[in-house]
Symmetry: C3
């Protein structure tokens, strides 16, 4: 049994920017030499999310619109009122989507569907540089 | 430490069909001889979800109705407009619910509540056969 | 490679009570002597959730209001009609938020942002005592 953990950084434009990180994660898994196990993909912060999506402009736009309905950017938020912030909606979206996901590793590769990409969604109200931790556990 | 990974297939009727897979997952965990650890339950694809629910017809209907409010089947989706598809809502539901979940394994069994079942939700717009990967890591 | 699994109990007031469990989880991870790996934080039951949130009263209120919009307490639920229960909304919220999350462990500590706490959300319609399982896998 072995553990491999690697970090990479990615720049986002914020405002529900959806970034495909499948290639970075896949390379880390392939390079870990772990054949079978679990890979956890996690992002540090409280205004972003990790999920999977068919990464094409239509699905990305649909997700952005849905999150704008579920947690609108311009609604009144208690977080904003309390701290003078403008990103109460970003915190809410992050709590609902989640900041980490785990996937199976099989035959030395992460298992995702052909039309299923791992995406980082930056819900914050400004451009950010984000840190992604990839942890592979297995043998 | 050990890893056990097994796949099973399940037929769904699509259209937010909610299928209880607790028994299949429990048997794989019990058969792994891993006493303590983590089990990841993942489904391959971008139009389905894995979550937990009290599997009784009322909770299933309530989840189906809620997802119809959050991501209605008949709304205009950019994914549909772009590709001539009819399952933009399926992709959206999958991104929001997630396609994989991890649970603890204790005393050789998956830990779930009595009224808590692991369910596969097929959000696609047609009947499908789905592949579920169960990965147990522990000792 | 090693596994450590510990349970703790926590009292909640129900009704979407949001409780910060970061300290309890962090202590278990630090005490596991596992330096690098994955920690799964899971709660047993079908009327609660585990997620991350900046734990301050504003974000907590914003999450509670959003869940009241997504799955209102007083809507008609098929679960309630079938069983004479009053917590159909609690089951629905739990299925949407999820009852378990996994995070990376690095340098012997759980990796979370400064403003990112692990929270247990008790969606049930009454005060409850809840059991949280923390499972650390790594080396």
């Amino acid at each position: 049994m072995a553990v491999l953990q690697t970090t990479f950084r990615i720049s986002t434009s914020g405002h529900c920017d959806v970034v495909d990180v499948t290639l970075q994660v896949s390379r880390i898994v392939a390079g870990s030499r772990i054949r079978q196990g679990i890979v956890n993909v996690a992002c540090v912060g409280s205004t972003l999310g990790i999920t999977t999506l068919e990464f094409e402009p239509g699905c990305v736009a649909d997700l952005q619109r849905a999150l704008e309905r579920i947690a609108p950017a311009n609604r009144d938020y208690a977080h904003n009122a309390r701290w003078g912030d403008d990103n109460g909606y970003s915190h809410l979206r992050s709590a609902l989507v989640g900041t980490a996901r785990s996937f199976p590793v099989s035959d030395g590769q992460i298992v995702c569907g052909t039309w299923q990409q791992i995406v980082l969604c930056d819900f914050d109200s400004r451009a950010r540089e984000r840190q992604v931790l990839v942890t592979v556990v297995g043998e």
